[in-house]
Assembly symmetry: D2
Homo-oligomer: 244 residues x 4
């Protein structure tokens, strides 16, 4: 019987991720690595993998990962090698009115396979605001709204920056979310959300439309979970490009 994969799960490692600005951002990743191998190999795998991580630790860009994995695959003589690294990523955002700058954190993931099933998936988790169209329509004033989280995963041709994926998602909700808002900014996002009511399914559709229109995205999936302010459970919607 052939094993699909053997490897390591959830090892923490400091990494540098290249920003769209050209700078390197220092962050901390949780990494899993699996290899498809014909026989027992764990000791070699760990050594090879940890060595590769150490060699490339200071520039984990989307460009370098496939090379890193190919090297590991060759050394292990594996049919395929799979890497998943999840990390917090920071972007300096400006508040919408006062332009006050603050750092927003986004969870991001690179999922990369070398060998037989060569593949690369970029994932971002983006917090946004959703405001309920039904609640707005039926109420004499106000409308329930809440934080929601959009998980957006893409395969690409050409190249895509994490910053561009996050921008795309943030343009598709009732409002963006910020780390720091002064009073004129808070007024702006409150009114923007109220003027732009969206169900989770509306956010999913909007992200999917933008992704479909993007020339560098060859596949995508998008899920939106809304932490409903009037319930203890979440509302959820999902679509992927194979459904469209």
């Amino acid at each position: 019987m052939k094993l699909k994969s053997v490897g390591l799960k959830d090892i923490k490692f400091p990494v540098s991720v290249r920003e769209k600005s050209g700078e390197l951002q220092e962050t901390v990743a949780s990494i899993s690595l699996h290899a498809d191998v014909p026989k027992r190999y764990r000791d070699t795998c760990v050594s090879t993998f940890i060595a590769a991580l150490n060699n490339h630790q200071d520039d984990m860009s989307v460009n370098i990962l496939p090379t890193l994995l190919s090297d590991v695959q060759e050394e292990l003589q594996a049919e395929a090698v799979h890497l998943e690294m999840t990390f917090p990523y920071f972007i300096k955002k400006k508040a919408p009115v006062t332009r006050t700058a603050s750092l927003m954190e986004y969870t991001c993931r690179f999922t990369c396979s070398a060998g037989k099933d060569e593949d690369f998936i970029l994932s971002v988790w983006v917090p946004v605001t959703t405001l309920c169209p039904c609640s707005k329509e039926i109420s004499s004033a106000g409308a329930h709204n809440q934080r929601a989280e959009v998980n957006f995963n893409v395969k690409f041709k050409g190249f895509i920056w994490l910053e561009d994926l996050i921008d795309l998602v943030e343009s598709a909700a009732s409002s963006q979310v910020f780390a720091l808002l002064k009073r004129p900014d808070e007024k702006h996002v409150t009114e923007q959300a109220f003027n732009n009511p969206m169900f989770v399914e509306d956010v999913v559709r909007k992200v999917a439309e933008l992704a479909t229109a993007h020339k560098n995205i060859s596949w995508f999936s998008v899920g939106v979970e809304s932490f409903e302010s009037i319930h203890k459970h979440s509302a959820y919607a999902y679509v992927d490009s194979t459904e469209i």
Copy 2:
């Protein structure tokens, strides 16, 4: 050197908790038990404890726990025995307008010590809605709102039902939260929250006022965490009765 405590952490166990209605509610608890003991005793402790759990598994009411723990303490000849059991607890709530019934789940905890530091703390975690007074005041329409979680812990004289603690908290926020709301109910909770804007510190103060006025509550603490819809972080406020 004397050890403060030795014991078990996070064992799952089916338990029955007595409802205010008189019924027993079947649920599943995560239980930790620690004992203050002069010497090594773990084997005995586990056997004694598991036996006690099995004997009382079918009626874990607030009344019975102290007896159960005293029995354990005596058998172990421990200076003190500490039990913490955390469990989901269900209450059938009626929607505010249509009176449609649905089950709401609340996380609850009994923290009970027998012996030297005899004590009993009831804890409830209650989801509520908070609507931001500042956002309402400065915006031409709408106001950001979100789910918040109130953690309310009390010591008591006389007796208090979990149902009464939960009621007290639910009356102290911008609005209650429900599992099932029909359209007239959704209109009602949206408008109620809009007419009742509260910061986390307002909810904390309101719960503290009601707790102070309650004849059976001898000590309390209350913390409110609001999952802000316009930020990725939470707003938080806390007070306990020793501060008042």
Copy 3:
């Protein structure tokens, strides 16, 4: 654009699950429900679903779920309806030597789809002990061992009890895990694990062999995560029946 699914995530609900013994076991599930629908439908979906849950709350057996979901699907006129319910499940196990009985908790899941993609997957997460063959071979005494968790998912023809899936997994590791062991039992499991060293990939292979040989299992996947006692990360192996 067609939405794949819209629904609810992570609502807690008390359910009864039928045991192999014929008894009903009361437990608490975390439930997600999604439907594939052509248009906006959330209000109806929630009402229909909560009503269905209430009607069947007291006997959530593997037999009844497909019927429940078909009813929901028809009422919603959805192409498909998907339910995922995850719950703690208790089995009274006897210690290997003294036969002392205690309750062990296993996380279980039913994943059920009605309509276009009719499907049923049973999942169990079973804690076991793994003892490292390499560590045993190279050391003058002892061998590192640790708790591991086996996630076993199956599709079936005929019928399979959760108890049987759990038994299958527990027979495939270095040793089983228990809630309560007296000294002769602890001696037994220590020696059994030492005489039965297995890497994560060995456990995966053994579960896969037993699953392949089982006449009622039509598809399976198995993943094993071992919380290595000499590392901070986990060892992991995975296989599914499409690889064999």
Copy 4:
């Protein structure tokens, strides 16, 4: 009624922490800030706090935090300000025999209060191996062992590096834990653990003895949770210096 505290919870922020080597280590912290204030102040607090974080982001050493908090306290005219920052911290460790270097990650926390309740607590969570003395004594070969986690919290006079606290804990268990071990190293840690059996209460006592003897530690608490390889639950022991 006076509020104990109002603030923010769980904001992620990139920080630099000074290593014992003199270098600065880039990492990502989860930060909570609370202030004891007589009146509503949240907007000011957030701005003041975010500004302070940005000013000091590049050198979050134990020396600088009290100054940072005093500045915040003065600006807010708060009676006290409390900061809690939790972050992964990496130390390059050498394997015991081959001296192969690899990065180990430890969760660390600074808890710092300025004003009325001036205070500073250093916390580390250190993974170690525990090997059961009872299992070794009664079994013909082998002994169950597992990963355990030691949480060690100290107040200090003079100065203490995170590296020194971690060293102290790692010397107090059956064996240390490493990210990368070659075969001679694995043999060494396996045998070391087997020759050094310890219950959770033994690890707690040993850490407490070393802490009591340390000239710069003025208060401590230590808790050990052992993820038992033969059970699904944890064994736990705790002591603090007020008990000794």
